[in-house]
Structure formats: structure tokens, C-alpha cells
């Protein structure tokens, strides 16, 4: 626990603008925003370019378009980290949020920060408490913190645990992403370990991950006995644990909405009464942040696209991807009402890294997937005129194969068998992989970035992920 306190103190010293006190009662009024600009940053976790293409075919067919396709400005983004050709979500999202390259598994800390000790162990204990040592890097300011310091309202929305790597990079600083108990504490205004750079706190926090807010004798994983939900309520937050509770929160209030113990459900499995959709969370977040009339920063993560890809379950990845796209569509519509022409609103949509998903050839066009049509979730079928047109193409042993596959993953049968589309379009089908691993890995390809609105034409060409931060701060004149 001593280490926890020290880590929290170090953050406070490094980031507090004017001597913040972790025991303060947060009665200091935030500064007024210099202008009412808005930034919405949409992050599809693991949504590489092949995944994007598959999402399009799944939803709208080869020639159709999803919302992301319609964004007018675009760029390709290099995603390598300080030490990894293939990044994980921590340094890749942190690069977007801070403009700094860091090592894999590091959350918004300076270049050179280590997630692993020299003996190969991680700087985290088995319960999710940090064991980061003092002097192992320093926090670097995030876009959310910078905008908060200038009086903007702020929000974080995700389908993962709110303490998971991607959302954590917006508001927390830690040498190893797995210290999720510590990350949660950094969010709680006035609490021990609070990140003072968040001022009076993030206005809207929505997602999963209750377990890192509750003590372990109350169904959580916290070993310090703290109930961070109660502490957030004491700090003035409304707490929502279901869809209706979220919708009942007044737009003028601040909210902590945590709907599940761990990650939220995949869209395919979601029970609407228990868990709001990403679209619903995004809409509510915009309403609440706009109600503050101070301009805002909102990060929205479609976080479980990545998890389904790790499981090599393309169907859940694509349905979560489309849920993410629907959230973008809803946000665009809402922001056009709030700010016609998006003259003061920048919307950026991108991914943090690729996966090893591939689209095998040479399939005839499938069109969109429907209940009785596998589409891109089906088998590769002959396109060429002739007696075999529309018949499955086969491997060297005469067995059909699927359109979607993975470079690595759990399903690598020793001998392939005949597949049918009832199987391959099933909710739980795991696409086959070239290399057998217990779970599929990220991939190293560039990712797509689409943008619209204020300053969006700054995004073009092939850019580094750190440049995204630089461009946004320049557009907002934050430096």
C-alpha cells in the first residue's frame, strides 16, 4: 500500500497545476473554456483495415458503405510502439492521447518507462495493484487532461472495463496496464491516488469493470477495502448500473455508469435492459457534455472488436464493429444538430492497431450478411462462369475454406474437414488460423483514420500515431 500512495503522490506532483490536495473537497470552480469547441475521438480497438472491409461487406455488401466510409478526410497511421513492431492497446492509444511513443503495456508515461522488471516479471501483483517503482518514468499529459485544464467538459465511453488500457490512457498514468485497481483509483476525485490533473474529475464515465471499484469481499477485486463507487458518489457523481438508470440521469449531472463486473457484453449477447448499447452511451454522453455549454472532449471506444478478434470469432468482431459504426452515425447526427456544419467540432475515427484477419481469395461477391445468408462469414465460392460457379472452392485435399481467416489463433485443426455455412456463420464459430496460438494476436499493419469537421483536413497521407495528438492539439490551439 505504501507504494500505491507514493505512486499517487508522484502523479499529483507531476501533473497538478497548482498544488492540488488529494483530500480537497473539489470546490474549486474549473476554468472556463476559451471557446466552445468539441472533439470526439472514436477508437475501434483492433479495427484494422481488413476488419473494416469485412465490416462493410457484412453490413452493406462489397459496394455499400458504412458510416466510417463516408468520413471525408482520411489518413493511414503507423502504430509501432517504442519497443514493439506490433503494439498493444496501451502505447498505441497513449500515442494518440499524449503524442509520446512508449513501450508496450505502458499507460501514458514518458518514453523509456518499463512495464516489465529486469527479471521479466510485470510491475503488477496478482490482484491488479501496481508495483511500479518510483523513477520508472513520469506521467505525460493527455488530451483529456489538457482540455480539462482549459475548462472543457470531458467524457470517456467504452464497452470494455473503464480501467482497460484504451480508456485508461485518457485519464491515468501507470507503468503497466494490468494495475487496474490502481487505474480506477486515479479516477476518483479526492481519493487516495487520484490524478489531480483531472481537476474536479471526468464528467461522464461509462463502460464495464465494476470489479476494480469494489472491495473483494463485496464481489470486487480491490484489496484495499475501498468502495470507489461510493467514493465517486460522495464526490458528486450519479451512479448508473443499468440502461434505464443511465437514461434517468439528468444531463446536468456527472455520471459514473458501470454496467458489468468485467467487460460489457458483445453486441451479439447484450441484454438491452441491463446494458446500454454503445450508441446509447455515446448519445447520452454527448447530451450531458453539451449541457455544460463549455465545449467538450469525448473518447468513445468500441473495445470488444479486439476481444472477439483475439478469440478468432469474426462474427462477434463484425457485429461489435457495426455497433461502433452505429455509435459514430448517431454522434454525427447529434453533433450536426448541435453544431451545424461541424464548424467547431472535430470528429476523428481510427483504430489503435491491426489484427491478423485476412480475406481469402478468390470469392465471388457475397453481398451483405443476413439471417439466412452467411455473406462474408461463409465459404469462398467460385465467381467464374461455368458449371462450378457459386460452388465452394476447395483446398488441396478437397475441403472448402472460409472467406475470413486469421494469421494465428486457436483453431488450427491437424486435418481440415468439410465445412458448411451453417457452421461458419454460427455465433460461436472460430475462423481457422495459420499458426496455432491459444489466442490470436494483434497485427502490424497500418490502420485507417477518418475525420470530419473542424480542422479535419489536417489528416492526410501516412502519419505516425503520435502525430494525431499533435494535429488535434494544433487544431484546438492547446499548446
Amino acid at each position: 500500500m505504501k507504494m500505491l500512495k507514493m505512486a499517487g503522490l508522484a502523479l499529483a506532483v507531476a501533473l497538478a497545476g497548482c498544488g492540488g490536495d488529494s483530500d480537497n473537497d473539489n470546490d474549486v470552480a474549473p476554468p472556463a473554456a476559451t471557446s466552445k469547441k468539441n472533439v470526439l475521438f472514436f477508437l475501434g480497438d483492433g479495427m484494422g483495415i481488413t476488419t473494416l472491409t469485412a465490416m462493410r461487406i457484412y453490413q452493406a455488401g462489397e459496394a455499400g458503405s458504412i458510416t466510417i466510409d463516408r468520413l471525408p478526410e482520411s489518413a493511414f497511421v503507423r502504430t509501432y510502439s517504442e519497443d514493439g513492431q506490433v503494439t498493444d492497446s496501451a502505447p498505441s492509444m497513449a500515442a494518440y492521447m499524449t503524442g509520446v511513443k512508449m513501450k508496450n503495456e505502458v499507460i501514458s508515461m514518458s518514453t523509456g518507462t518499463n512495464a516489465y522488471a529486469p527479471d521479466g516479471s510485470q510491475y503488477v501483483d496478482a490482484d491488479g495493484n501496481t508495483t511500479c517503482e518510483q523513477g520508472n518514468g513520469t506521467p505525460v499529459a493527455t488530451l483529456l487532461e489538457k482540455m480539462k485544464a482549459r475548462g472543457y467538459a470531458t467524457g470517456v465511453v467504452t464497452t470494455t472495463r473503464v480501467t482497460h488500457a484504451t480508456p485508461a490512457t485518457t485519464y491515468a498514468h501507470l507503468c503497466n496496464r494490468n494495475g487496474e485497481n490502481t487505474i480506477a483509483a486515479q479516477m476518483v476525485p479526492g481519493g487516495e491516488g487520484y490524478n489531480e490533473a483531472l481537476g474536479d474529475g471526468i464528467d461522464v464515465v461509462l463502460g464495464g469493470g465494476r470489479r476494480h471499484f469494489l472491495p473483494n469481499d463485496d464481489g470486487g477485486r480491490r484489496t484495499d477495502g475501498r468502495d470507489l463507487i461510493a467514493e465517486m458518489q460522495d464526490a458528486g457523481y450519479q451512479y448508473a448500473s443499468s440502461t434505464s438508470e443511465l437514461m434517468d440521469v439528468a444531463d446536468e449531472d456527472r455520471v459514473l455508469g458501470i454496467f458489468t463486473s468485467s467487460d460489457m457484453s458483445y453486441e451479439l449477447d447484450r441484454v438491452a435492459q441491463q446494458e446500454p448499447s454503445l450508441e446509447e452511451m455515446t448519445g447520452k454522453a454527448i447530451d450531458m457534455l453539451h449541457a455544460r455549454d463549455s465545449g467538450f472532449f469525448l473518447m468513445v471506444e468500441g473495445g470488444r472488436i479486439d476481444h472477439a478478434l483475439h478469440a478468432s470469432n469474426a462474427k462477434r468482431a463484425l457485429t461489435d464493429g457495426i455497433a461502433f459504426d452505429n455509435a459514430i452515425a448517431a454522434a454525427l447526427e447529434k453533433m450536426e444538430d448541435i453544431d451545424p456544419g461541424l464548424e467547431n467540432t472535430l470528429i476523428v475515427v481510427t483504430a489503435d492497431h491491426d489484427h491478423t484477419l485476412v480475406i481469402n481469395g478468390y470469392a465471388e461477391r457475397t453481398g451483405a450478411t443476413s439471417e439466412d445468408h452467411a455473406g462474408v462469414l461463409g465459404l469462398v465460392k467460385n465467381y467464374a462462369n461455368g458449371p462450378n460457379k457459386g460452388e465452394p472452392r476447395t483446398d488441396v485435399d478437397g475441403n472448402p475454406y472460409t472467406i475470413l481467416g486469421f494469421g494465428n489463433g486457436p483453431n488450427r485443426p491437424d486435418s481440415r474437414v468439410a465445412l458448411n455455412e451453417t457452421t461458419t456463420a454460427g455465433n460461436d464459430y472460430l475462423q481457422e488460423a495459420t499458426i496455432q496460438l491459444s489466442s490470436e494476436t494483434h497485427g502490424g499493419g497500418d490502420v485507417y483514420l477518418g475525420a470530419t469537421g473542424m480542422g479535419a483536413d489536417a489528416f492526410h497521407g501516412v502519419i505516425d500515431n503520435t502525430e494525431v495528438f499533435e494535429k488535434i492539439t494544433a487544431i484546438l490551439d492547446l499548446e
Binding site: 490482484d127 491488479g128 451479439l268 491437424d414 491459444s438
Partner: protein, 229 residues
């Protein structure tokens, strides 16, 4: 977990017979050794074969499935680094699966990580990732006994074991059922052209002194999604 799909593929023999779950039980065999074999001859004339064995421990509403791993392979596994929470790509290859069924038929599926002393909760979307097809009866008894009605009875031996057959597509399926021990003694599915086949053979073992799920009190509960980054 690298061989999880093997487990699924072999169980596919049983799945071919699948029907809805089931029925009252009594005095089942508490432990079984199950040998799986699958083979295929490719167009290039090469025969590929895969073999492995598992031990099943069974109570009325509990099942433990554990792969037999040779000592040398186990040692190799032990030499892998196991770090901290191990959120990503944690090495749980060959870890036992512990499945419990409640009174309503709901399943609680756990992967048992002995190295890190973790019970990893497997939510239904991840059943396939740990080699479980979601079917209790087929996993517990190796075939759903209600599926026998759809097969052709062929013979009964002196020990009361019943043999059933079924032709489906290119395959002939032969199943031997032990009604007393309540498990499939063997299931053979062979392509009529002789190019592929799968077999499953179960042998009863002496009842263990204690079931393997006893003694897990100090294991930490974890979620499968903790293994994904």
C-alpha cells in the same frame, strides 16, 4: 489450450448424434480414460493422424476434463515465463476444464490454471476457445443417450453393452453404449471411401479418493477476457 480444437473435433463424433439434454442418472462411472484418434488421407496420399487422451471425473452435476500430458511436455510448459496477472496470451495449454450444471441446466465453466492458481471463468462466447461445445450430456457421457433412439440397434454383448449404427452422408457411425456406467464405450465414424475416420474409446477407471475440484479454495477467480489484451 493449443489443442482445444482437437477436443472439439473429436467430440464432433458425439455431436453428430446430438439431441437435447436429458434425463435421470444413477450410479455412473466416476472416472473414465478417453482416447481420441482422428485420421485423414489427403489427395497427396499422405495419411495424417492425431491422437490424445483425457481423463474425465464425473459426478451427477459436475465434470472435470483433463488432458494427459507427457511429463517432458509438462516440463517444457513449466519453463515458460508466467508473469503477474498475465493478461495476455496466458499459457493455459492443456489446462483442465471444470464444468458444473445447476438445477435449471445452466452451466458454469472454469479453466483450471494450476501454474498461476487461477480459476478462469469461461463465458459462453468463449466456450469454443477452450474446446467446450456447450453440450452437457455429450461432454459428460460422451454421447447424449437420447440420441440412441435415432440409431439402429445392432447387438448387445454379455456385459449388457449396446451397439448402435447410423449411416449419415458419407459416414458410417458405430456407437457402443454402456447403460450401467452411462457413457459411450466407443464411437467410430468412418468415411465409406476409407479416406477419413474418427474414433473415441472410453475405459472406466477406479474411483478417485477425492475429486480433483476439491482443494481449489485458494485459487483466484479470473475471467477469460483477462487473457485477452
Amino acid at each position: 489450450m493449443s489443442n482445444v480444437i482437437h477436443r472439439l473435433a473429436a467430440l464432433g463424433v458425439a455431436l453428430m448424434l446430438a439431441m437435447p439434454v436429458t434425463a435421470a442418472w444413477a450410479q455412473p462411472a466416476e472416472a473414465l480414460r478417453v482416447e481420441y484418434q482422428q485420421w485423414q488421407i489427403g489427395r497427396d496420399g499422405v495419411r495424417q493422424q492425431m491422437d490424445y487422451a483425457e481423463t474425465l471425473y464425473r459426478e451427477e452435476n459436475a465434470l472435470w476434463v483433463e488432458r494427459e500430458i507427457p511429463e517432458a511436455a509438462e516440463r517444457q510448459h513449466d519453463q515458460h515465463a508466467h508473469g503477474g496477472l498475465g493478461h495476455k496470451h496466458a499459457d493455459v495449454i492443456g489446462a483442465p476444464l471444470w464444468i458444473r450444471r445447476d438445477d435449471q441446466g445452466g452451466l458454469d465453466v472454469k479453466l483450471v490454471d494450476r501454474h498461476e492458481k487461477r480459476l478462469i471463468d469461461i463465458a459462453p462466447p468463449y466456450y469454443g476457445n477452450v474446446g467446450f461445445d456447450g453440450h452437457w450430456a455429450e461432454s459428460w457421457a460422451l454421447a447424449d443417450p437420447r440420441a440412441l433412439a435415432a440409431m439402429q440397434p445392432a447387438s448387445i454383448d454379455e456385459q449388457g453393452r449396446e451397439t448402435y449404427q447410423l449411416d449419415r452422408g458419407d459416414q458410417r457411425i458405430t456407437l457402443v453404449w454402456d447403460p450401467k456406467g452411462r457413457y459411450a464405450v466407443s464411437i467410430t465414424a468412418q468415411g465409406k471411401q476409407g479416406l477419413s475416420g474418427r474414433t473415441l474409446r472410453a475405459t472406466p477407471l477406479a474411483a478417485p479418493a477425492s475429486m480433483p475440484w476439491q482443494g481449489l479454495a485458494d485459487y483466484r477467480d479470473r475471467d477469460y477476457s483477462d487473457l485477452l489484451d
